[in-house]
Symmetry: C2
Subunit: 317 residues, 2 copies
């Protein structure tokens, strides 16, 4: 599908951003404004059906009588062609989940589903940092690492609707165990979860003073960002390490699509230059010379969480 | 541009396949038949201008009075947008070479240029194994490793016309020196040149009996193929090793575009199942489960060298 969508005037749509941890339901108007949102936890449901019932209720609560064109939804491992999620590494429910069909039955609205990162890519193309670009990549750094690749102005969906799995390129051969059952996937290092895994390993093995040693609760990516912005050496090294692995793998990925920009989005991207500076350095250092200095690395300019909601809503128009 | 081109009836075009070692000029009719070819060496010219004069002569010799729509040319590191070749790792002439403009001045015909592997991808889509497919990859295994990625029925050219450099994805971090100045690029292992490098290393280090030890001249990929098809253990192991590295890297690449098929083409692909069997095994073994068993690995069904000539000619229509 096209990465830039033109919404009908005076129309509304529901955009749903389903992440491995949180889900946000947003009502979006044709000007690309998120009018109202409802939040729910993705994980706190024993079955996918329980989750879908809670989600249908959240859609109902988000609408205050506005007529909508339909529901668009971005979700991990979602397939645009089939409307299903199949064996998502970052969801508690395995197997084939016919999300679009079931949510449609529960709400009475037409539901279009795509990969959460693909939704973000459409959001950036329609309303954000990628407006006017025909070739770009959106990378979401949340519980996992998602990606949406746009080439020739169109989202790369792939033959089976499952393209854009940058998070499962092997960054370190024989490396960390991934939820997908393999080892060394990029997302096990470069994601909010990944940087926390690195921090936990290092804090067990290393004794130098760090603000992170003082934490009593489980460390989060936010804690690491806070410590790094106060100049904590270990936290800064965590960003350097994470940025190196991300930069190296991105240097490989761009050799396939030669994009004009890479736009980062999601929890870990909020660290901004703390992350982008090492990513940029290692990216350039590992880049085939043809691409040197040509590819901009940016963080999303859209208000937090909005790219995915806006992009998802665009599926419904 | 579209990966499938419909030629005008009764028209002819010149397609040029420029490789790192050899160049072939072909006259192609609208039925996708190569009517006549002329061959020249790419390397035996001191300057790019000398080469272009020889090439213009070859074009003249290939035409026996047929009227043509123009000249299409596939070449290493060629840029469709600019008509230039810039710093090709596998060519002796560095810097910016304005090939399209100069060849046009020398011949009087309009010249369109693209990456040799992109030309092959259009050839396979228009006349070969990729007919009817919207998402596929063509991998050329010659002096280097070239690639053409097709998504949504269109060639991925990238923002700058330089997409599809699979051969310069890092297959072995810190590995072999590549002509591009970096280390461990896929093409230093998986190409006609790459398998020969591996053979030379192994033959120096290992003493077990092998038909390859009996060669007095410099070993070629063809020699290795011949030895392997006679059951030579070392030669078979060379294919296993080369196939593993290619299979692993392809498993990463398909996570970006999720193609329906990968079509191999060029010198080393002539080894057929000798190469494809290990590639397929390691590819499947390293694949994200979403893609398991879904992606066909094929060798080109077009007569040798024709995919690139046919694809190049399609640029002219």
């Amino acid at each position: 599908m096209n990465a830039t969508v033109v919404p009908q005037k005076d129309s509304f749509a529901i955009g749903i951003d389903m992440g491995g941890t949180n889900t946000t339901v947003g009502l979006v108007n044709a000007q690309g404004q998120v009018v109202r949102t409802t939040h729910l936890k993705t994980r706190h449901h024993a079955t996918a059906d329980d989750y879908l019932r809670a989600l249908a209720m959240a859609v109902k609560n988000t609408l205050h009588g506005e007529p909508i064109s339909g529901i668009g939804m971005g979700a991990p491992n979602a397939n645009y062609h089939t409307g299903q999620i199949v064996d998502a590494a970052n969801l508690p429910w395995k197997g084939v989940l016919p999300i679009a069909e079931k949510l449609s039955a529960l709400t009475g609205y037409r539901v279009r589903l795509t990969n959460d990162a693909n939704a973000a890519a459409i959001g950036e193309g329609t309303f954000g940092a990628a407006q006017g670009l025909s070739d770009y990549i959106v990378v979401t750094l949340g519980t996992g690492l998602g990606s949406g690749f746009v080439a020739n102005g169109r989202l790369i969906l792939g033959h089976d609707g499952l393209a854009g799995e940058l998070g499962h390129m092997i960054a370190v051969r024989g490396g960390r165990r991934c939820g997908c059952g393999r080892n060394g996937c990029l997302e096990t290092y470069a994601s909010a979860t990944g940087i926390v895994r690195t921090a936990e390993e290092w804090l067990l093995a290393r004794r130098e003073p760090s603000l992170l040693h003082e934490r009593t609760a489980k460390i989060t990516a936010w804690d690491i960002q806070q410590a790094a912005s106060r100049g904590d050496a270990l936290a800064l090294e965590l960003f350097e390490y994470t940025g190196r692995i991300l930069g190296e793998t991105l240097a490989d990925a761009v050799a396939i699509t030669s994009p004009e920009a890479i736009i980062f989005y999601g929890g870990l991207a909020r660290a901004g230059e703390l992350l982008l500076k090492p990513v940029r350095a290692h990216f350039e250092q590992n880049l085939l010379h043809l691409y040197s200095g040509k590819i901009r690395l940016l963080t999303s300019s859209l208000p937090e969480a909005n790219a995915a909601i806006l992009g998802a809503s665009a599926l419904a128009w």
